[in-house]
């Protein structure tokens, strides 16, 4: 039996009178590639923020490797092995690309292993930048990067925390076809390396080629969860996306 990595149970979040998430339950198994889709404002990013500890959910539980995450702050969740990329890239603008990776290396990997030498950090930075294809940009500042490179940096920084679960929040919005292929390829490679990935995305081509399972959120409710082909044939999903 495969192990449950993430177990979300009846998670709810409201902003004032607006119910952003309504009793969402979701189980993610270790090694899975899950796609999370939904129209704008359906609560995808709110769900990510609740999972990662940026927002506090009023009701429901989030378990990671069987551990209840209630009361864990965002950085503690990162330490446990959850990593995220942000919908809009949020690089550390005052640091070089390599130093952007140094921060998570120092604070997560360094903290786990107690000793992390300067040369190990350098090697790891290089490996990560090569993995995402930014090796020649190491000494540049984030403002010199293109949009696609910025998103690759975002993923590299999440990867630098050596996560078990990577949540990629719209890592491909606004990218061209070939750039989307680049990132999908990258995420699949990461997954093959043993990392569970949740991909939040609007670009259906990317979601369909990436996901082994598809979850659909509409107005804060989960309306479908299953094999991508089945989900796309689901009448409720069709209604949500195309109208009646």
């Amino acid at each position: 039996m495969a192990t449950q990595l993430l177990d979300v149970e009846r998670l709810s979040k409201r902003f004032g009178g607006f119910v952003a998430l309504d009793e969402i339950s979701l189980v993610v198994t270790a090694g899975e590639r899950v796609g999370l889709i939904g129209p704008n404002g359906s609560g995808k990013s709110t769900l990510v923020n609740c999972l990662c500890g940026t927002l506090v959910n009023e009701a429901g539980t989030v378990r990671f490797e069987g551990r209840d995450l209630a009361g864990h702050s965002a950085h503690q969740r990162t330490h446990l092995g959850m990593a995220r990329s942000f919908q809009l890239p949020r690089p550390f603008t005052g640091m070089t690309v390599a130093d952007n990776l140094r921060v998570p290396l120092l604070y997560t990997v360094g903290a786990r292993r107690k000793t992390l030498t300067e040369s190990e950090i350098g090697t790891r930075c290089e490996e990560l930048l090569t993995l995402v294809g930014l090796a020649d940009r190491a000494r540049h500042l984030p403002r010199d990067l293109t949009q696609v490179d910025m998103r690759k940096l975002e993923l590299a920084r999440a990867m630098a925390t050596e996560p078990k679960l990577l949540i990629a929040d719209e890592a491909m919005a606004g990218l061209s076809n070939s750039e989307v292929n680049d990132i999908v390829g990258l995420l699949i490679r990461l997954n093959e390396g043993g990392i569970t990935v949740i991909l939040i995305e609007h670009i259906m081509r990317a979601v369909m080629s990436f996901s082994q399972r598809l979850v659909v959120l509409v107005s804060g409710k989960k309306i479908a969860d299953g094999r991508p082909d089945d989900v796309m044939r689901d009448a409720e999903v069709e209604r949500a996306y195309l109208g009646q």
């Binding site: 942000f86 550390f92 005052g94 130093d99 604070y107």
Partner: protein, 317 residues
């Protein structure tokens, strides 16, 4: 290991520079040099301390005067309660101001930007009100602190002794700032300055680090304030809590450059010396006018301070 050696070298270099400064001031053969130099060095400490929170971590603190005054008033308190040598009072000032820094951090660090700045300004007002109403340390009247003519066991005039202490504090502050800047802590601070949410997501315990920054910054400011009553001889709330400290400790790093320990040092030396010269040649009231004009000028011409300007010119060539 390598960086430890380099830090060692840096400490030696700092001590050497400090020794040269002292001998240089001594050969001038005029006590006024020590008197004016003390003030400049005091601003080196304050500007460097401010920069740890304001420059490295990105939280603008308008309450420098509060921490400075805490150091000064803890000296006034102990001068009456149980007299102790100045170096001990410096440590006490650091502990008191550091603890208040920690407390202020707990209360205000949920605030960002202008709101944090306003809260720190409020801290200064609250503390000043407390001191004004505390009779034991002189209240609104102020307190006289008669300093000895000379230091026991040292054949130094007192003003030279105070100058030496402030010189040591300046060196301590600069060494601390440089160590922080290049450490894991420094990277964490910079991450907070650039993007707090992304810092958390990268595993940086932002609240803990911000508390370290407020404590460290506050403690260094308290150290700078501790010898002040002996320097000035008569301490009253309005001089200890003067807005001048807050304004200068922000302006100096801004003018020098906030991302490195060099910036506050340059800014304080430049602005502090300029202020001492104008005090003597024109009038002491012109001080703040000069600060204001320089700040406006730098914001327009060199928003990243002298360091930024240097880097820009250097890269172009």
């Amino acid at each position: 290991m390598n960086s430890a050696i380099r830090s060692g070298t840096f400490v030696l270099a700092c001590s050497a520079v400090a020794a040269i400064v002292f001998v240089g001031a001594w050969t001038a053969g005029n006590d006024y040099v020590f008197f004016a130099g003390y003030t400049v060095l005091q601003f080196v400490v304050l500007a460097t301390a401010w920069n740890i929170l304001g420059g490295y971590t990105g939280y603008v603190n308008f309450g420098t005067a509060a921490f400075f005054a805490l150091g000064a008033y803890s000296t006034v308190f102990f001068h009456k309660f149980y007299p102790m040598p100045v170096p001990v009072l410096v440590i006490i000032g650091a502990v008191v101001s550091g603890l208040v820094g920690l407390g202020m951090g707990y209360l205000t660090l949920r605030l960002r930007g202008a709101f944090f700045a306003i809260a720190t300004l409020a801290l200064a007002v609250v503390l000043q009100t407390l001191v004004v109403n505390w009779n034991y340390v002189g209240g609104a009247r102020g307190a006289y602190v008669i300093r000895p003519a000379a230091v026991e066991g040292l054949s130094l005039p007192y003003i030279q002794y105070l100058f030496l202490i402030m010189l040591a504090l300046a060196a301590t502050a600069i060494v601390t700032a440089r160590i922080v800047e290049r450490s894991k802590l420094g990277f964490g601070f910079a991450a907070i300055r650039d993007d707090e949410l992304a810092a958390e997501a990268s595993g940086v315990p932002t609240l803990k680090l911000k508390l370290i920054a407020t404590t460290l910054s506050g403690a260094l400011m308290g150290m700078a304030g501790a010898p002040f009553p002996y320097y000035i001889g008569y301490l009253q709330p309005s001089s200890a809590f003067a807005l001048e400290y807050a304004v200068n400790s922000i302006a100096m790093p801004m003018i020098g450059g906030t991302t490195s320990w060099v910036g506050p040092l340059l800014g304080a030396l430049l602005l502090g010396t300029l202020q001492q010269i104008t005090t003597v040649t024109i009038s002491s009231a012109v001080n703040l006018l000069i600060v204001g004009l320089l700040l406006v000028g730098f914001v327009i011409i060199a928003p990243n301070g002298l360091i930024g300007l240097w880097q820009r010119l250097f890269r172009k060539q």
